[in-house]
């Protein structure tokens, strides 16, 4: 259990490094594969609540450290209406919310139906990006929702979701190597049938 938790934590950190080398697809409305969110969401459904919250905190904290913008600067008399940024730490709450969402279908996952979790990964990424954009709109004012933004969110969610079976396969392999069971009921049912 501890070994599996540590390896998941390491996977998340590795995802942060790899994310740096994943460019936005300019031809696809600047969509990108959100590897950090993907690894977190897939791991969240395989662990207990305390571990999920630990992963959510690490991911949110580091994500904001990676993506946060600095203060606007300049003379406040000239730039009297500076454009606000999102506060450092908001991602911690977003990751926590997404983690709880994934844990909501943990019973299905434990029955061996990982396909539902894979589908929910896409939905969670969509909700995450929508919430992020809604927060930007709330902080900066003016509701601006362009077709490009909607497509960017949709394609990013879809692209990220497509890679979830690969991450689940990786997590299953790791859990087998660590002799840690993440699909109790599915295994029990299989044993009952044979």
């Amino acid at each position: 259990m501890i070994r599996y938790t540590l390896i998941t934590l390491f996977l998340v950190l590795a995802a942060f490094v790899l994310q740096q080398f994943l460019p936005a697809f300019t031809g696809l409305h600047n969509a990108r594969i959100l590897l950090v969110q993907l690894v977190f969401l897939c791991a969240a459904v395989t662990v207990g609540t305390p571990t999920m919250l630990l992963l959510a905190y690490v991911c949110g904290f580091l994500w904001d450290a990676q993506c946060g913008l600095g203060p606007a600067g300049g003379d406040p008399e000239i730039y009297s209406q500076p454009v606000e940024s999102l506060r450092f730490g908001y991602s911690v709450l977003l990751f926590g919310g997404m983690g709880y969402l994934m844990q909501g279908i943990q019973p299905l996952f434990r029955e061996g139906k990982w396909q539902f979790s894979a589908l929910l990964t896409g939905i969670a990424v969509f909700l995450y990006l929508s919430a992020e954009y809604a927060l930007i709109t709330f902080v900066r004012g003016e509701f601006i929702l362009t077709r490009a933004t909607v497509l960017q969110v949709l394609i990013t969610s879809l692209l990220t979701m497509l890679f979830s079976p690969l991450v689940f396969w990786l997590l299953f392999t790791i859990s087998n190597l660590c002799q840690h069971t993440i699909r109790f009921d599915g295994i029990k049912r299989k044993k009952r049938y044979h």
Partner: protein
């Protein structure tokens, strides 16, 4: 809820509140620590990418590159001569102004940098350049290309920096319209990054008389950007009841940025 889960949730919320209450300097320290921790991976990744690209270029275009190199060397020599002459003239001009007790004119030095990554984040219009604190680059310094203003430096590390582009909503520039008394604040637009991203010039006077094609320059006010740097041209004007807003086509082609110049010192 199980007691362990409740304790974990309370600790999580406590940690989130702690993070949310960090002030800007503390956040900058956290960001600096984070980037210094992943810097070895970034460096080796960039080196690998550069090597791979160089290898491909060498294989496919070695002769073309040789011709280009000779051409560039020739141009560089010519530009060095021009720069030398420019520096002499600047010095002479400064001496004459000093002798005549004129106010010192704007002077600045630049550092050339190459764009290494585009849009590393989801929502912000930023790029990463291969020069940082070691090249005397600091936060908020203006970044130019030969076409006009590109943006300003945001986060600085030792050997790289991130630049927030003019097309981002957060990059605000005090601007004036050529041949008119109109001044306003120019910035990018949220979610408008398809094709040529248009800029917004806000807070113009209610009865602003502007025509398409008029050029927009920096005013030099506000302490961020030197004056008279080209920003773009007026595309259309939208008159409101209290003020007017113009749509500006940027002078810089942001889709084709290769080398940029960071202005190190700018005196208004």
């Amino acid at each position: 809820m199980k007691p362990l889960n409740l304790i974990a949730l309370l600790l999580f919320l406590g940690g989130a509140v702690w993070a949310l209450t960090r002030l800007d300097p503390a956040v900058r320290d956290i960001q600096a620590t984070y980037y210094s921790a992943i810097s070895p991976f970034l460096k080796s990744g960039s080196a690998l990418e550069t090597r791979a690209r160089a290898y491909l270029n060498e294989v496919h275009h070695s002769k073309e590159l040789e011709v280009q190199l000779q051409e560039v060397e020739g141009r560089m020599g010519r530009l060095e001569l021009i720069e030398e002459r420019f520096r002499n003239l600047e010095r002479e001009n400064s001496q004459l102004r000093h002798a005549l007790k004129f106010e010192e004119a704007t002077s600045f030095d630049v550092v050339a940098a190459r764009i290494t990554r585009r849009q590393p984040t989801t929502w912000w219009q930023t790029v990463e350049i291969d020069r940082g604190g070691l090249a005397k680059i600091g936060p908020q310094l203006p970044v130019l290309s030969n076409e006009g203003l590109v943006g300003k430096v945001d986060l600085v590390r030792d050997d790289r920096s991130s630049v927030i582009l003019l097309t981002d909503e957060k990059c605000q520039v005090s601007a004036k319209v050529e041949g008119s008394p109109e001044v306003g604040i120019l910035s990018g637009q949220r979610g408008k990054f398809e094709g040529t991203p248009m800029l917004r010039l806000r807070f113009l006077s209610k009865d602003a008389v502007l025509r398409q094609g008029q050029r927009v320059f920096t005013t030099g006010r506000g302490g961020l950007f030197p004056p008279n740097i080209l920003l773009g041209t007026i595309e259309s004007v939208d008159k409101g009841s209290l003020d007017s807003e113009a749509s500006v086509r940027p002078a810089v082609n942001f889709a084709d940025l290769g080398t940029v110049f960071v202005v190190l010192t700018a005196d208004d």
